[in-house]
Symmetry: C2
Subunit: 495 residues, 2 copies
């Protein structure tokens, strides 16, 4: 007698997970350890591995097993597991191989040229390559839309935020657009009269590293299941059982790197906290990009910039940066450094308050691009007008700090941007719900953070992908996602 | 029209090489970087990868392609390439899967128990598990022997030293057995009146590391294609394009670790020097374990213990160990530290002169074990009598420092030991040939080592597996392997 179909599916996805494990570790190695001369052969080995992963993810035998498994008697978890396998499989199989390859090539070509075009502000050169990326992404969106019965942009959203639609986003973001620009102005006005001391001098890497590791310990990062290293672009990689965080140190500044470690530790603890008994199955994975970002932003913004946490950071910084004048490292100065608001062009450098303006701008543009109602050649003009409207800045003729600033669109990753602000909203709503049950600030002040992590664990981490995002948020907070808690949080912190 | 069979074979072996690449990097990571909690899932992922590698290495389609490729018009290199593919394939396919699995399980069980049994000197407990390892290894040897038309032990030798037979080893080693024991006595006698200073105090790891890296640079290790890290058991891992050396530092001693780095750098430069155009094919791999060891021993013994190299090491040690009394780090004391001869039980700690005695003892025992003329229960007694004969030491009742000291037999790796002393002999013969063309000591003294490495490159590294070991040695040195140069080298250094 052969195994039940559901069990065969589990075996198959475990195997796929093993190859993904190898890809994650070798990818981490490539970013952190590999000497430059190893890159060519490594890339070839990784390409062979990708092909193997693709073959397993799209194996035709799966369709048959899904049919059989539907008729087997499954418990609630197994039903959710089967649903996630099917979602995974649909996304992996829906596109013709030709299109996947063509988009990958067009994306690589566009990105490669972009590295030179961006510093040269060369929109005309960029536009020629980008036209193809946009065209192929529209094709992708169209095919996904037809298969899923959604609009093209909503079908792209499904890749990152399953279940979230643009109509929902339109409602959320139009609300934010009403209160955000005046709030930004009000806060900048208020901060104009405040004085803060920018850290200068040297912050030796060894000291920054020791400080970062101590902060991770405070945040209960499990060092028997992970480690911290350095890479040019910080990320949270590796696998659930062995999470590989990276950061980047600058000798002359610690502010960004330190809070970057807090942010990545949020991602890491979500991964480390996913349920072991579902390990290797799609249902055992993190729920979505937005929920993932909600955990990093919970750590970075909700917890990390709270007064008692800032107080602790200031204390630890004083301990490690022995040569830095104490006035730079006071709690008050730390608070000011980490809550300074400034209107600027670059999203990745934006502060908590102006960040959503950047995201909403990109969302509105990429939505219309994918739905075919906006010509890609009109993007710079639209960008300029929205930038003026939301942040009062003009990007006329300034392409490199406008629509050419990011790698996401260059590569054809349309549908990803909303996750950042969804994450910030989820995080605020989680914190509000948590505060109904816990004296969060009091706990942080006493250094007793376990109850905070227990709440996140039982409401988010342990849920993995068992629930839809909507169900997860509803169960954790008692209501569906809304922008109210986010607004409240920003007003309380910045006004 | 489909590709020629030979080309299809190349594609297949390239793919296999890519998976081996992933195994090498993830294996290195497991030994150097991975936190303990990552081990279980990693081991599962590695097991899945091993299965994938096994399937590719034994693919039935290969037999058919070999037949077709025989009839294609191939050049000399391609002929050699095909020969090595077939050798690789035969070794991978000749054993029934049941036997491979049974031996692997028996080996794991024996090794696991051995870790406790060895410190407890528990031969009786060990013998019970080891009986099964020996029995299954004998079966393996028998099957390999029938397929290859060789004696059982010679068939095991083929795995490590293709082309070398026990009749050849008997001749070489019986010669060594005549002059080695009296030479050892003579040298110990001579050294008895010499005084040397054992290094004491602290040698900070950071200083040892900086010293090791500088020595590797002197040896022209290519840091754009490799790196140095730490692991409990030092090894040379990774892949040709990205060689991963490891070492182990002890705060209280640098002597072993420093020369260990020189040794591993020899392995590494062989790998880095293998011809790029054959990369990914079996014929592009290192020739044998013995030739590999000849390169590490050329670096460690021929080059590394030569007077001008010792002088350089002493100078560099003085530069890095700023707190160590200069008298410990003189050239004279370094020379004495690195040429001290002592009869002792443990092979891995043995010096250059007594090492071959350990190897010959093991060779004679494992040969008779595999050929079925020795019962494994008689090993301790035979070990004791040979140890008395070669080194004048008794291991009666001292199993843990006798036949239970190594992991090789515990795991069932019979046939490997001769490679160590073959390597030492090849290295001495290479050096003698090189000295016919180059003023080696003069070059080292001037720090101009490039001609030395060029000789190794064109005579060994660039040859990969294009020639048989016999052809390689003949072409490089003008004669076949013999023990004369080794004897000469030892007499010159130690008398």
């Amino acid at each position: 007698m052969s195994k039940p179909a559901y069990q065969q599916l589990c075996d198959h996805y475990q195997k796929l997970d093993h190859f993904n494990h190898l890809a994650a570790i070798c990818g981490w190695d490539q970013a952190t350890m590999m000497p430059s001369g190893g890159n060519q052969v490594r890339s070839e080995a990784m390409a062979t591995l990708s092909l193997q992963i693709h073959e397993l993810a799209t194996a035709p035998l799966l369709a048959e097993l899904f049919d059989k498994a539907q008729d087997e008697s499954l418990d609630v978890e197994q039903h959710a597991s089967l649903r996630e396998m099917q979602r995974h499989w649909r996304q992996a199989t829906v596109l013709p191989a030709d299109l996947v390859k063509a988009k990958s090539l067009a994306g690589s070509k566009c990105e490669h040229a972009w590295r030179e075009q961006r510093p040269n502000n060369d929109w005309e050169g960029f536009e020629k390559n980008w036209a193809e990326v946009v065209r192929l992404s529209q094709q992708e969106a169209q095919i996904r839309a037809e298969a899923a019965g959604l609009s093209p942009y909503d079908a792209m959203l499904e890749l990152y935020e399953p279940g979230v639609t643009s109509s929902e986003l339109d409602t959320l973001f139009s609300e934010v657009k009403q209160w955000l620009p005046p709030l930004i102005d009000q806060v900048i006005d208020k901060q104009a009269s405040e004085s803060l001391i920018q850290p200068t001098g040297r912050f030796p890497v060894a000291q920054q590293k020791a400080l970062g590791l101590e902060v991770m310990e405070t945040l209960q990062f499990d060092f028997s299941h992970g480690r911290l290293d350095e890479s040019v672009h910080p990320f949270c990689g590796g696998v659930k059982s062995d999470v590989r965080l990276t950061t980047r140190y600058h000798d002359s500044d610690f502010v960004q790197s330190l809070m970057g470690i807090v942010h990545e530790t949020g991602h890491a603890r979500y991964e480390q906290g996913l349920p072991h008994h579902l390990s290797g199955l799609p249902v055992g994975e993190a729920r979505s990009m937005g929920i993932h970002e909600s955990q990093s932003l919970f750590f970075e913004m909700q917890l990390g910039r709270s007064e008692p946490f800032i107080a602790m950071l200031s204390k630890l910084a004083n301990k490690h940066f022995v040569d830095t004048p104490a006035k730079v490292l006071t709690q008050d100065n730390f608070h000011k450094l980490y809550t300074r608001v400034k209107k600027d062009f670059i999203r990745v450098d934006a502060d908590e308050l102006t960040y959503p303006a950047h995201v909403i701008l990109r969302y509105e543009i990429e939505r219309d691009l994918m739905n075919g109602t906006l010509d890609h050649r009109d993007v710079p003009e639209l960008w300029d007008s929205k930038m003026q409207q939301y942040l009062g800045l003009s990007t006329k003729g300034n392409f490199k700090n406008g629509c050419m600033q990011d790698i996401h669109w260059t590569d054809g990753a349309f549908g990803y941007f909303p996750s950042y602000t969804l994450g910030a909203m989820y995080a605020a709503q989680f914190m509000a719900a948590m505060k109904q049950q816990l004296d969060v600030e009091g706990l942080v002040a006493k250094g007793e953070m376990t109850p905070i992590f227990d709440w996140l664990s039982s409401n988010v981490w342990e849920k993995a992908s068992l629930l839809s995002t909507g169900e997860l948020v509803q169960q954790a907070t008692g209501e569906k996602l809304n922008a109210r808690y986010f607004q409240q949080h920003l007003r309380e912190r910045y006004l």
